[in-house]
Symmetry: C2
Subunit: 409 residues, 2 copies
């Protein structure tokens, strides 16, 4: 656990003059945007002939301290227009395919089995989409909630895949799983057996409560550190197979074409790279006074623990270490804070995180280069699809105290 020591410093006294009250600078939410409550960040796939029914909500990252997202505020991407009504007393989970003993588990069965509880983030692959930053986008300047709020963090409880798969007995040739949900669209996803055995579990609890219906009641897959679609909700079947399956979501919905290499596509995205965002102060808020302000935010990585978070208040020219506040879990949101005195001048603040593998959070320019996309392309109406975005997020603090999104500034 991080030391409280630095909080004992009397920085409050060192900032601008006060009169009776300790707080020297403040933040106020400017106004709650009414838009974008139920829209998907990402525009429909170009040229697609189908429509996707979606229900979405975003976590208000700017509104809580600590790392636990209250369950009802956990983000949701529902790939249908309504929630399945599942009777937990009748729901079963089947394991079949390349196994020695096909098995079917009732919820009662599952709850008798060895359980684990782990704090992990879950994040939609479309979180932090670049579309929302684009100049001219009516959502520009929205609170951090609508840009980065498809990432949340909970204590999940359930049964390890290893327990279930060992009981069924995977045949030698079984190297992949297909997870199938019990929703109307049977949302399905491929998962390598190796990852399933490492740390995945079938979750029936979130933050001490049963799963909520929008989180997959009565059970969902929990695939720590990997992109959202792996975490199949309403889980009803695990098929053991010998190759990755091209489930609809993987082939049609979650692939990304690479025009620069002849229209080939990026498929099968797995682990989230290291990432962080300042949640306060952030776009849509307002600085109320000069002087002390606590910068705070969240960092996470699909590869393990966060080991460092740095803050720049000059648009990335210079960096200083933020304080990392325990607890630091693997593949989980990690809270950081940084004590700052705003001098009333224009400033661009941003964070960059480092994880235990040594990976350092990239800038958008670095990511774009890696993806073969020119920075200017992001601003075009016919812009490339941008998912799996982990770029540093700069916020611009203006002299009038307003705060705007500076991703493309």
């Amino acid at each position: 656990m991080a030391s409280n020591g630095s909080n004992r410093r009397r920085f409050l006294k060192q900032s601008a003059a006060l009169a009776g009250v300790a707080a020297s600078a403040g933040l106020a939410a400017k106004s709650e945007p009414a838009k974008a409550q139920n829209v998907h960040n990402e525009p429909p796939l170009r040229g697609a002939r189908y429509t996707i029914d979606h229900m979405t909500h975003y976590t208000p990252l700017q509104d809580y301290a600590g790392i636990i997202t209250p369950s009802r505020l956990h983000f949701m991407q529902q790939h249908s227009s309504e929630f399945p009504e599942i009777d937990a007393a009748k729901h079963t989970l089947s394991i079949y395919g390349m196994v020695d003993r096909p098995l079917r588990f009732s919820m009662d069965d599952l709850k008798q089995l060895p359980s684990v509880s782990r704090v992990h983030f879950v994040e939609c692959h479309a979180n932090s989409s670049l579309a929302i930053h684009t100049a001219g986008n009516p959502n520009m300047g929205l609170p951090v909630q609508y840009i980065h709020g498809m990432a949340s963090c909970s204590e999940w409880s359930g049964v390890p895949f290893s327990v279930l798969l060992n009981e069924a007995g995977i045949k030698k040739e079984g190297t992949w799983l297909v997870l199938e949900g019990g929703d109307a669209g049977k949302f399905s996803h491929t998962l390598p057996v190796a990852k399933a055995m490492e740390d995945c579990f079938v979750a029936y609890g979130q933050n001490g409560d049963p799963l909520r219906v929008e989180q997959g009641f009565p059970i969902r897959a929990l695939v720590p550190g990997w992109e959202g679609p792996f975490n199949v909700k309403y889980l009803r079947a695990i098929k053991v197979v010998d190759q990755p399956y091209m489930a609809w979501n993987e082939s049609m919905n979650h692939s990304v074409s690479r025009p620069d290499i002849g229209g080939k596509a990026r498929w099968y995205h797995y682990e989230w790279a290291v990432k962080s965002v300042i949640t306060r102060p952030s776009a849509g808020m307002e600085m109320q006074r000069k002087g002390y302000v606590q910068i705070t935010g969240l960092a996470w990585s699909g590869a393990g623990r966060i080991t460092k978070v740095e803050i720049s208040t000059d648009g990335g020219k210079s960096w200083k270490d933020a304080k990392i506040q325990g607890p630091v879990h693997t593949k989980a949101h990690t809270r950081f804070t940084y004590d700052w005195a705003w001098n009333g001048e224009e400033a661009v603040i941003q964070s960059r995180a480092t994880d235990e593998t040594g990976d350092v959070q990239a800038t958008l320019a670095e990511l774009s280069k890696n993806w073969g996309i020119a920075m200017d392309d992001w601003k075009k109406p016919d812009r490339p699809r941008a998912i799996h975005v982990t770029a540093q997020q700069p916020w611009k603090i203006n002299r009038d105290g307003s705060i705007t999104d500076a991703m493309f500034a």
Copy 2:
């Protein structure tokens, strides 16, 4: 983080014969007791002429996995017959007494200050009261909820006392604090400055949400590892003084007389000693089959981290290490599990925890000796007051599968 490795063992196959379903043994809640929902475990103080208005609820420890108690299930001891209605927009926290600068903070002020979030247990000093175990007590055999459920664990967020006290500037002679609540009875409690500066904070958030009214909305003291009454709810004033005050709760309500040494009393209890309890299987549940059952429970200590939990299935004669499941926070509930195969015979199961100071959880016989109380005295109608109880909790599993409280067996 603890390894999942041991879950990969195929112990399910090693237990009694199965037919299609992996689960080999089970537990069922026998029936929900209707009694004791709103009574204080502890009988009224002998000879007292006053009555204490109390509202109580207990955490259903047997019903969740992991370590986070959902906020609405956090135990409550309300020292009044109704909740105060506090307008957060008008609520203030004053710091006065032996300080350089008396200060008053609004809620807005507090939320601008450096914040911390920590996972900690809070536990009523009367939790695990021995009264409830006494033979002939109608509550005998109640679920673990009503014996040990005045302990809960949350992620709390707020402002360190050190930040506030440093800003006010404590005079040299100021060594104690009196915390005063804004409820009708102005529930008050003494706290040493040294502890306040070490790790205490003024909490405004619980598990990512604002405090609930029964948890002290809008702010409460959080005094990690120390007994419940220190964690004053509805906090409105901190007075800095030079000696411990004999607040009503400390002198009349929370002291414990020692008849063996001439009626002198134990006062000023601080830190909770190391403690643990098996939450499943536990009294009131029923074993459904022979074979595999996961024993699970919670361990905690006011002195720091839990380092070891041991399980006995023969009434304390022999012990084996339980698995400790991460996260392991200081002064927080820690989940343990133990894989067991019940052979259908009578058995007494219990846990004992060790903390990082090397302290090992005591038996009731050891505690009683320390307190100068004969074991037989606990069964008398005129029994001694028993608070601060940390004794090992044995549960007896009978041949018919029923489970009973064996504290005095």
